[in-house]
Symmetry: C2
Subunit: 121 residues, 2 copies
């Protein structure tokens, strides 16, 4: 049994849009990610994804101009198969929950944003 | 898509040891629970359980006197089948992640502590 301190884990890295696994259970992963700017539009087949903001302001945009704005302690679940785009004007930190092995850009391969899978911190 | 504000959800209830579901994804539930005192020893067959402290101090005790003390922003994953006991000297608030439909007292039925399953807030 390991105690995981989220702030301490966030302090260990600085790169943005590169999720780091900090816990795993029941086939799911808890990942930390730092974000700034706008991520590519994408969806995840058969996978739901939760974003819980830890620091800063973060938004999840959907088609039809629906935007969910999140601050610290706020979360949203993105339904499976639904196209979305995440963005933050200033750097924000989020906790991501999703099944193990999910590609961050979903159905898209993006030279800049597609991150390695399975990176732990 | 619904934005969930964790502080606002915690403010909606006062009872202790009665988990409330605030989000569901991929067969898992995110639950909020207020705790104070000591919970019965129990285990969960085939289920891993995560506790992430939101407010206060909370501990997860295991046999052989192993105690994981958690403060805000700290989490632990309890392995499947491992007997554990949760406790807090003063009221604490925690976020619980586990598969849908798990009984809070696991293999034990306790008149005082076994809570209804599937309660949303």
């Amino acid at each position: 049994m390991e105690r995981v301190n989220i702030a301490e884990k966030f302090a260990r890295f600085s790169e943005q849009w590169q999720p780091k696994i900090v816990a795993e259970l029941n086939g799911q992963e808890i990942k930390l990610v730092k974000v700034q700017g706008t991520f590519p539009w994408h969806h995840h087949d058969d996978v739901e994804e939760m974003f819980l903001v830890w620091r800063g302001r973060f938004r999840v945009e959907f088609r039809d101009r629906i935007i969910i704005e999140l601050g610290p302690g706020e979360l949203v679940v993105v339904p499976r198969g639904v196209e979305h785009c995440t963005a933050a004007d200033e750097e924000a930190e989020a906790i991501v929950l999703e099944p193990a092995g999910v590609r961050n850009t979903g159905n898209v391969i993006d030279e800049k944003f597609t991150a390695p899978i399975g990176v732990r911190i």
